[in-house]
Symmetry: D2
Subunit: 447 residues, 4 copies
Amino acid sequence: MFERLQQARRSARERSDLARLIDACRALLGARGESNSVAIADAAVGHYRNLSADSLKAFFTLLAEEFDPDPQSVLELAGRYAQSRAPEDLIALTRAAEPPRQELLRRLIRASGGTAAVLSMRAQLLVRLRGDRRLAAVDADFQHLLSSWFNPGFLELQQVDWDSPARLLEQIIRHEAVHEIDGWGDLRRRLQPDRRCFAFFHPALPGEPLIFVEVALLEAMPAAIGPLLDCDQPPAQDPRRFKVAAFYSISNCQPGLRGVNLGNFLIKQVAQRLQAGFPALRTFCTLSPVPSFADWLAKVERLESDRLKPARLKALDAALQAWRARSHGAGPVEKAGASAKGGATEKAGAAQKTDDAELLRRLCAFYLFHTSAAGLRPSDPVARFHLGNGARLERINADGDLTRKGLKQSHGLMVNYLYDLDEIEANHERFVSEEVNASRAVTGLLH
Amino acid sequence: MFERLQQARRSARERSDLARLIDACRALLGARGESNSVAIADAAVGHYRNLSADSLKAFFTLLAEEFDPDPQSVLELAGRYAQSRAPEDLIALTRAAEPPRQELLRRLIRASGGTAAVLSMRAQLLVRLRGDRRLAAVDADFQHLLSSWFNPGFLELQQVDWDSPARLLEQIIRHEAVHEIDGWGDLRRRLQPDRRCFAFFHPALPGEPLIFVEVALLEAMPAAIGPLLDCDQPPAQDPRRFKVAAFYSISNCQPGLRGVNLGNFLIKQVAQRLQAGFPALRTFCTLSPVPSFADWLAKVERLESDRLKPARLKALDAALQAWRARSHGAGPVEKAGASAKGGATEKAGAAQKTDDAELLRRLCAFYLFHTSAAGLRPSDPVARFHLGNGARLERINADGDLTRKGLKQSHGLMVNYLYDLDEIEANHERFVSEEVNASRAVTGLLH
Amino acid sequence: MFERLQQARRSARERSDLARLIDACRALLGARGESNSVAIADAAVGHYRNLSADSLKAFFTLLAEEFDPDPQSVLELAGRYAQSRAPEDLIALTRAAEPPRQELLRRLIRASGGTAAVLSMRAQLLVRLRGDRRLAAVDADFQHLLSSWFNPGFLELQQVDWDSPARLLEQIIRHEAVHEIDGWGDLRRRLQPDRRCFAFFHPALPGEPLIFVEVALLEAMPAAIGPLLDCDQPPAQDPRRFKVAAFYSISNCQPGLRGVNLGNFLIKQVAQRLQAGFPALRTFCTLSPVPSFADWLAKVERLESDRLKPARLKALDAALQAWRARSHGAGPVEKAGASAKGGATEKAGAAQKTDDAELLRRLCAFYLFHTSAAGLRPSDPVARFHLGNGARLERINADGDLTRKGLKQSHGLMVNYLYDLDEIEANHERFVSEEVNASRAVTGLLH
Amino acid sequence: MFERLQQARRSARERSDLARLIDACRALLGARGESNSVAIADAAVGHYRNLSADSLKAFFTLLAEEFDPDPQSVLELAGRYAQSRAPEDLIALTRAAEPPRQELLRRLIRASGGTAAVLSMRAQLLVRLRGDRRLAAVDADFQHLLSSWFNPGFLELQQVDWDSPARLLEQIIRHEAVHEIDGWGDLRRRLQPDRRCFAFFHPALPGEPLIFVEVALLEAMPAAIGPLLDCDQPPAQDPRRFKVAAFYSISNCQPGLRGVNLGNFLIKQVAQRLQAGFPALRTFCTLSPVPSFADWLAKVERLESDRLKPARLKALDAALQAWRARSHGAGPVEKAGASAKGGATEKAGAAQKTDDAELLRRLCAFYLFHTSAAGLRPSDPVARFHLGNGARLERINADGDLTRKGLKQSHGLMVNYLYDLDEIEANHERFVSEEVNASRAVTGLLH
């Protein structure tokens, strides 16, 4: 009885928060909003924070329906501008064509805590995006404005180290998405003098990392992640021997920033910062996973040979056949390292293992080159990210990630992408024209 | 001979800077720009800084001509959206209708020093705006983006005091626009414990104040500026006696931010900050100049009476006649304070002076109420600013500013606008509907 | 063979470091030292850091033997001053009587890193103090100077919280000496909004806590440590309900500062800081262990009754007899809580437990009052510390610390000492005259 | 009447402050002081600040009379130690021989604001030192402790520049003692990129510079001060051309630190800091005044030749005769530059001027070498300071300081002292053995 009453009260309060939020949004775009928008935005943010899931949905629907531009007046102004080409007509058209919710968001963000609130709205919106096609235009407006507000000219690059606040380090532990951080001891290894961690911060979100990257300073380009994360290995001490900066993990912390490309900027700024601090550094590369290689291989394995007709896939066909033979013969490749007893068997086992590794590397090269429907772009998201940044596919390493996750996702393969700061732009342009930039070592695997 | 050669070289270099800037702008919007926009933006900013006046003009013309939206495709998309109302059509329309130079500016600002460069461009653009009508649309884009980037949610309110860096204080001295600061001693008086100075800063422009306000903490609403700035008066020591915060000067430091209303936000945030620090404060008001009152009066003085026919201007007519009599009789009002000798004369002089003061206050009330062509809005920019912020016209003070400038601009009058934080929104709405919010004391002057 | 060579080299290097350190020390007190003491001190500190254990011993012996004052000249100057009472003779005497190693330390500390080096020397010296009587005078000089350098006027009180650098928090975990911190999760509980941690820092040792205290903000004086440290209990949220600040742990981080009383200053400064931040706080107390109560009880248990003859120990005699009966009857008191089955037995068990608790509290009261050979001062170090600071023995709590360590050291008892800031000085004076300041509740236990 | 009453009240209050200060001092050394010394020290500092001049005198007299060591017990303990040589006897002796006011000061400095108070006491004491011989021992204790507390290991070297707080810069202007700073414009010139200013700070006196030095970064060793301070000369821009760091002014800000040699440390730390920042710097030197050269010359000019008998002063005798001739002939040397008309006269004037310059430089060389009664040490305080630091007398420049003050004090001469960081120690030792370290150029002037 009492509980029901409470529930009733709660939902009344929520309805009221929703109603007030809507009022505040309308006021923000009206005359009151002009004079005292910060106070109204503060109120709006306060009500937003109290919304339940249902109210959130109602709020986003409102954003989609009420704050669209007026089609007729846009059409009319577009016509006028097409005729006159006059600046004043252009100004009027530009204003009319911009959905009013953009101005709404620009006024909401004025609130104290407004930036965090807008990011939270976007995160909530993304969750609901698939289910409701009308929200796409709302989301486009969020992404448009967030890209403008979170431009690298406003961001601060900060090194994260063992002198950073525990509250920040805790977030690094929580958001690490590539190679899980198993507690503070594990984190500490990643902040030793031969490791670096850098994060972007926005001034309106103090203490909140947006995205961070972890780097290992090494003597040579690394082929496997295990040694980099090994807490028992003592840190390298002599900075003069650091020749390679290997980016081995990059993680986003703000779901609300999806589609706002910060990783590209982060990697390049960090590379510059490191180059300035360690003039002996010669190579900037990644050590990256190939997250859905195993899935792709499982799928393609089941394809009939005649589906792989195009000339360029001939080599893949041969490799696939060998792979099928391996899989059904000596057991799954990921178990190839399992102990083989006796001298002769051991040698045979080693040779077998090398063959398997080579086979996987060839298959992976195909995967990274030939899987985009439209052309040569890879379907692998990590590859698309780095190649799109202008990096080069430098090396495919077998046995690079022998964790459970690594074996499951990519049969243990890891990839180095190379960031040659002088070639980035040209590489990117070639990538845009459907070309994968790769080293000879990698293209050699394709034949 | 040698000089001519040098000049030739210089202009060659300049042309080259212009050409490279244009190339960089195009690249920023092309495929290269996507992958490495910061590096290209850095280059663009570098070239921009070297431009001569002529090259600047060429650059702005380019912005106006090359980076406009395509009228036909906007028209087409507007038509499609008007029919379909589909989110994807709206997204396409919004994108097409936004002038590409907005995206160009968003990418330029990514450069290190990009924010300062964009502000400098805007300042240069404003200088050329009157002479070239085509630049209006370019300027609208600048203002649109700057309003978004310099929203109060991103700004930091900082107190400026005697512990602030000399470099910052130097800028305060330079930019003070209302009551000139005559050197460091004068500045120091304005930073004593019974005075406050606050400025807005943007994180991407460290050490560069955007706008600042000076406040006096007092026991009563001030009627004259002289005592507030008097270096010889010892600062009030007991903060418990501060009942009134009087904003006596507000100055912009960034010409590139014209039209981006920061003053409104600044005054309200400062009022909140002061209220938190001094709970005994009861009144937030200004002590403001009436900059073009004397000009108006000179103009209106010459009008024929029958031009002032409308009923509401009858009272003005009477006042004007008295004024004309005064001006041609006992000499200009601003000399009314000049020494009169002898007991009787003195009394008469004092009475005269009081009458003059009253007359001027009445004329000023008319000036502030009835000078907008469209309606009741004042043409006085200071009045429009504060009334538009939702303040109330509280009191008109004779002999408020007896400096040369004060006598010349406003016959010495100064005005208090009252910021009643609870009434600001309602006041603003009334102001929007052409109503001037004023105290009874002021409206009483109109009859 | 090779190893022996290496060892030979190492010990040669060490001898050389010792020799150079000694040279540098002599130079510091000579003419060279006057002009460029920082450079020489830098060198000395460098050599000191390389010393082996043997060399350290040799170094301290040198400090003891070579840098003593000259007895004859002191005697002569003392004679002269006793006769003349002249200021210049006093100056000469003061200079001559001060061991030259004090000046040596004052010059060593000028080095970069000198403060850390001198603290390290003291820590090493303390380890060797028992074995070598000659070092006592050296140690006295260290303590004398460190007390002067680490005076509270130079120290900075800083709050340690979850925003503190991980490096600092790691040291808090390591140095916590009273209630062990079991990892970062445990630490985090102690830094929640209803807990406080404060540390003293010296400006010449940035990032190095000297001593820290942990405080719980509570509604009532706590009787047991368990709930305070329980990570599962949600932190109290409403600061208006904090009436009691309970200091539940205080730990030194610098062994080299032994005998330099910082705890006294720390507790009082923290109390003031908390009082300023939480005006509703009424009570500042501790929740303290009684570390050697169980040892004392085991010893005294074996004493013959007639050794406890003095009138004031009569009550103790009775309590001891009861205790002996308990110990040999129903099992050791610390097991009194062990499960008793059946209704009647349960009641009896509970009554039994209450009696045991009372008995232990009485015995503990005796322990804290009557165990100093010289008089009424307690031999318990924690009691001596707090009572010496002017606190009052407020309450003895049974079942205050049920950890293994707590049961073993004190049969689970914990004590509250009360810091009444107004009574501290008077209490201290009474304590100096051999009186234990205690509440009536505690003195009541003595009869 | 009323005034007398007020005066009576005031002096009663003062007597009471003095009495309470004395009570607090006694309490600090008594039992109460042990437990709560900070609170008592706070009170003492509060009373001290209210003392009038008379009360200050009484307070210092008390320090001299009541807080001396007990002569008899020192004598007895000195005797015991001379016999036993036991560490415990030494400890007892050291304690007894130290004047108790040292412990008093150590406890006073624990107060909040204690460091500033102790410095103020010392400054007040120094003023009274000449008049009261008994205060010498008190002053020795102050100096002894301040030297320990203000050791360079505790001090922070900070660059002072145009980004420093105005409050700090104001102090730099006020305390500049060598070449007066004429307002903020003049100061600004001294903080341009080719100038440096560094100050020492003590952590317990935040924002209060102790001593500062001004440095010019130049291409060559400077011979005159005028160009260095000229606000109209544009700052040198290219840091690669800085070969010489010339210390042209060093000023103390704390009179209470007299006799605590910070200048020596400051110059050397600044030299190191500059060397690290500008690896191309080759020379560290000063451009220094010779403050009492003119006085000395006026005195020695009046001496009879036969007073200059010693062989080593023969050369001086000759120079003096020439000087006397000049002075009584062509007018005072300082006017030698006055306009001479006509070609021939001009040439003659120039030659004359050169001769005068040479003569003055020779006389100055004598002054700097031969004026200490005890030996070869100079009586010039600036020379004693730099030579005592281990610098070398490098060059004597005529027409180095043509200001009124420069001409009056030293007939315009200025001196370069050279800090060769590798020779400092050896130079200092030679200086201690009465030898002036000088370049050949300077010693050449002596013959």
